[in-house]
Structures are given as structure tokens and as C-alpha cells.
Symmetry: C2
Subunit: 340 residues, 2 copies
DNA sequence: TTGAAAGCGCTAACAG
DNA sequence: CTGTTAGCGCTTTCAA
């Protein structure tokens, strides 16, 4: 296979059509000041030649690119995917296209320096604005607008979409207390992440509000992974006075709890109630109750905010709060009953 | 928020550093013919100014962009996501970055014309090559290499990674026959898709090889969706002589079968064996046996092929066949037993 | 209504 | 080792 064949440029179109490049450019950009028969002719030539304008060249000259950038830490993680779904939907409804950028290397992400690099890379050239997921940086230098989804930092200096993490955690804990639980274990998220802290705070405050004494032993140090949550669960269940319920700081952790429970022969929800945060699809098969963070809706909202910014509209609220919601999952329990 | 601040260019760096733009460019591109103290100084200035090179401008001048494009029909569909995971992994191990392009509009995809457009858009400007997932076009005009993952057309005029659909289907059917089934239902995929046809052929051939007469009634017209598979299942199970096993043409369909069976009170696998194609994560919770198509591996292989092509190496095999594999899933059955 | 020409930010010869 | 210069393909004045 040879690929040396030079791509068709606007020059080729102009030459074939017998007009100047500027006329072709006008047609391409939907300017009205072109004779309609000239326009028809050029359009025909474009089609015949299979011409597609050079994105790089176009981006360089014009300010408006109709392209939104998305910087995601990991393209294969359920969390990212949920957000991407929402972004996708909003993009479909807009006249912007989407350009997603990853290095594929998770380790490169999470550091502010690289985030800045990717934002600049996109925003200073080919995109009109960028959405950054789970950003760790407190600030970004960019000459086009950005919106963050679920930033790790508490008070970023840029517009963002955030979930009501504190209230969600409060609701979970109150729900568990309402079921009669008094000893409720908590599998925490990663320390450095703001939302993880807010969830812990919600858990603690709900207990205090209900007059239940806090027990440090009941807080296990998770890190949002299934694997660690399994370990934490075993740890919690081996306490002298083990918890009768577990609140896991995210859904991956909740799945980890489920797995550990299965290994230990602990039935959910009969022997132990389990609630997780976030809305990852597998949870429903495990009979786990979750706090839906509406990740897709966050992505959706972010795109809409960004488009407003791109259009020069001001945002009434720079931080868009998404209300979390407790969702009882019963699907798997139904399965289990059916199969008996 | 104002974003009017002009981005920092290579000119700014040159001016600040007191050198010419070409010297900065040399440093940027890792050329060795620069005095090391000049280099240090320039690097320092770049850092201080927070300069990031303009992707568009760079792409326009240099042939080598170290960027691979990925065109996906739907960014939120499990099938695409599996492939993306593999692509991601390969990208991480390479020195290429990844640029994913979607319009967010599923309806726009699937048509050859738009695919061509996106391929051109990326390949004629900012990427060194493009991977296209589930392409429908038989041919692409492009001046940089492309590789297709799981193309819909049987014999595309471009390199591709394909699964052994026929053999997989043969294996499934033989497996079911081996379990003692004689009446095996088949929920087909979309007609126009090559792989769907190959799966049907495998099913039919296995039956014929085993001396089982083909029954048109047992072939239900699916379309790779859960919803339709539910309908097909009801249809199959309401036959006078219903099947004792169902082979669904993909995993979504298999999940649909599961749902319908649950609604009808048919237990899987006790009352009916079900096998699906593809490897979507949820399947394992439903106790469904599947033929793993190793979608992630396909994405991984595609990147490696593409990089070879970009580097001018020739491919010994233009079509890379990935061996499918039957995987018995027992997880959910275990769950069900545990919970009794 | 159209064309000529300037230049976006960058890289790659070519000189020095 | 470094600077000067010529474009890459496109959009956008400015004239005609």
C-alpha cells in the first residue's frame, strides 16, 4: 500500500472549478455572497474530488472551529465512560464535533502539568473549548474557555460541574440508619480527592446527627478500586464488633465489597446492607444500592456550559451542582429469587 | 471570564530567549545541533512562559505528528469501549498520542460517506494514521495509512483486524450440540453486517455437520439490540416445538434473551442453555456463556499494525485474524447458589 | 460577485 | 551551531 498520494487541497478544487481559492473558501464557509450557479458548480467539484478541508490549516486561520475538546484521564474506565456518554449526547444535539485526547497512559495523567499541556494543545489550536474530566489542577492557562467535570480540587479557578457529594453521603448514611443499622462501615476514597473527603464528611455528620458515636475502626482506607475494597471489607468484617452495613465511597468499591462478601458467605442484603456511590452499570446485577451521581448528566451539562462560554454568554453559575440520588437496586435479588 | 489573551507562540519564546524561531523549533523537536547552554536557556524560557506548541501549525508543516486518530461510531457503547481499552493500552506503550473523533451523532455514522469524511479530516491534517471501528465503506481515499477493526464489509480494500466469526459460531453450536441439544434457536444480527452473516453460516454448518436438519423457524431476526432479542426470544419460546438452547449473535442479544427468560420464568442454564457472541462485561453476571471476540485485543492489534504502516514497514498479513474463544460463565450461577 | 495577496505558527531547507 | 527564508493550506481583508 502506498499513501504518498498528496491530499486534495482547496487549490485543486479551485483549479478544477476554474475559480479562485477564495471563492471556494467562501462556499466552504457558507458565505452568501457567491453566485448560486458558481456555488453549485464548486459544490459539485468538491464532491467529485472527494475534498475534505485540512483541519490544521483551517484551525490556524479561523477562530471558529466548531470543535470541542475532551481531556479524559482514562478512556476505558466506567466512570469516564459514563461522562463520555453524556458529552456525546450533548455534542449530538449541538453543531460542534468532539475531539477526545488521551495519551493512553494513566500515569501521565493526574498530574497538573500534563493536564495543562493537553488543554493548551487543544485549546490553543484546534478546539473552541475544552472539557476536562477529574482535573487535579487548581488553575489553567488557556485562551479558550474550559469547563471541568468533577474536579478533584475543592475550589478550582474555572467553571465546573460538581455532584452534591456531601449530601449524597449524608443521604446514604441516613438511609442505612433508617434501616436500623448502628454500626456502619465506611470504605473511603483516595485522600487527595476532594469528593472523597466530602463523602466521608457526609457519612460522619449523619452519624453524629443521629447521636451515633464515631468509631475510627469502621473507616477503612480504600482507594476507589475493587481490589482494595475487598481487602477493606475483610478487615471490617473481622472486627470484634463488625459493621452490619457498609457504605463504599464509589461503585467500584461497592463491587469489591460484594465480591468479598460472596467469598465469605455473607449475603447481601440479607446479612449486610451495602451502598455505593456513582452509577456504574454492573452494580444493578449485584443488588447493590447506589447513590447515582448522574455522571452522564454531568458530562451533558458541561458541554452546554462550554458552548455558552464559547458563544460569549456569561454563566450565571460558574459551579453547576448536580443533585445526587439514592437508588435502591433490586435486580439481582429478583434474579436470585427466580432461580431458586 | 475573558479568554482574549493571545496564546503564547514560538515567536514569543524566541524573542524572550533572544534567539531565532528556528533555534527554538530545533529544541522543540529534539535536534542535536544546538549548543547545550542555548538549549537549557530556551527550555527554561519555554517553561516560564508555559508555552505549548500549536498543534495545527505543527501538523501543517511536519509530516510526523505522533498522533493516531480513532474514528468510532458510538463512544458510549460497550462494544466500542472494549475496543477503545485495547487501543488505549497500545497507545500507552507507544510514543503516539490518541485523538478520537466523533460527531456524537450515531445516525451520521454507519454511512460510508461520513466515515470517509472523518478519515480525511484526521488523516489529511493532524494524524499520522487512523483506526476506524466497524467501518461500512469498502474503500477509503486517504494519504496516510488506515486500519479497520471489525469492518462490516467482507473484503475491504484496506488492512483490518477481524475475528474468526465463522469458527466461533461453529464452536458455539458444536458446544450446544455436545450438551445434547438438537433444537437450537438462533437470534441473528443485522443483515448488512458481514460478521453477522458469518455467524449465521457457522451455526448452520455445525448443525448440518451434525446431521441436524435446519429449521427456518428457529432463526429469529435480531439486530444486535437487547430489545429485539427479547422479542425474538418470546417468539422462539412460543413455537410449537420450542428450542432448548439459544445462540444469540452478540452479547447484547444474549442479555435480551436472559431478560425475556427471566420474565417468562425460564431458568438459565437449567431450563435452557444460552450462548452469546462478544465479550461485554455484564454477561458474566447473568451466567451466560459467550464467545469472546477479544475486542480489546483487536484494538490493540490494530494500533500495532497502524504503527508499522506509519513507519513504512510492510505488513505480512493485511488481514489480522483474531481467534475467538468460547468462555463458560458461571459467576451468576454461583451467586444464585450462594444466596439460596 | 470575484480575485489577489497577506499571513496564521510552525518546520525545513539553505546559508553563513 | 544559528539565523534567514520559503512555504504548508487555509481564511480574510482589500480591490476590482
Amino acid at each position: 500500500m502506498k499513501h504518498k498520494k498528496r491530499a486534495i487541497t482547496i487549490q485543486d478544487v479551485a483549479k478544477t472549478a476554474g475559480v479562485s481559492v477564495s471563492t471556494v473558501s467562501r462556499v466552504l464557509n457558507g458565505k452568501t455572497d457567491v453566485a448560486s450557479d458558481t456555488q453549485d458548480h464548486i459544490l459539485k467539484v468538491i464532491n467529485k474530488l472527494g475534498y475534505t478541508s485540512n483541519l490544521a490549516a483551517r484551525s490556524m486561520r479561523s477562530h471558529k472551529k466548531n470543535l470541542i475538546g475532551l481531556v479524559v484521564p482514562d478512556i476505558g474506565f466506567p466512570y469516564s465512560i459514563e461522562i463520555m456518554k453524556g458529552v456525546n449526547k450533548a455534542i449530538a444535539e449541538s453543531n460542534f464535533d468532539l475531539l477526545l485526547y488521551t495519551t493512553g497512559d494513566i500515569q501521565k495523567n493526574g498530574t497538573g502539568l500534563h493536564e495543562q499541556h493537553y488543554v493548551s494543545l487543544l485549546n490553543n489550536s484546534i478546539t473552541d473549548g475544552v472539557i476536562i474530566v477529574a482535573s487535579a489542577a487548581a488553575e489553567f492557562i488557556t485562551n479558550a474557555p474550559i469547563v471541568a467535570v468533577d474536579p478533584h480540587v475543592i475550589n478550582p479557578n474555572y467553571p465546573s460541574v460538581q455532584g452534591t457529594n456531601y449530601h449524597g453521603a449524608l443521604e446514604v448514611t441516613e438511609y442505612l440508619i433508617g434501616l436500623g443499622h448502628r454500626r456502619i462501615g465506611f470504605i473511603s476514597g483516595r485522600q487527595e480527592i476532594g469528593s472523597a473527603g466530602r463523602r466521608l464528611k457526609g457519612y460522619q455528620d449523619a452519624l453524629v446527627n443521629a447521636g451515633i458515636e464515631l468509631d475510627e475502626e469502621l473507616i477503612a482506607p480504600g482507594d476507589f478500586t475493587q481490589k482494595n475494597a475487598r481487602k477493606c471489607t475483610r478487615q471490617l468484617l473481622s472486627l470484634n464488633d463488625p459493621p452490619t452495613a457498609i457504605f463504599a465511597a464509589n461503585d467500584q468499591s461497592a463491587i469489591g465489597v460484594f465480591e468479598a462478601a460472596e467469598e465469605l458467605g455473607v449475603r447481601i442484603p440479607e446479612d449486610m446492607s451495602v451502598v455505593g456511590f456513582d452509577n456504574i452499570s454492573e452494580a444493578k446485577y449485584l443488588g447493590l444500592t447506589t447513590v447515582d451521581q448522574f455522571l452522564a448528566d454531568m458530562g451533558y451539562a458541561a458541554v452546554q456550559m462550554l458552548i455558552k462560554l464559547i458563544n460569549g454568554e456569561s454563566l450565571e453559575l460558574e459551579i453547576h451542582k448536580m443533585q445526587t440520588k439514592l437508588v435502591e437496586r433490586t435486580s439481582c435479588q429478583k434474579l436470585i429469587r427466580t432461580a431458586q
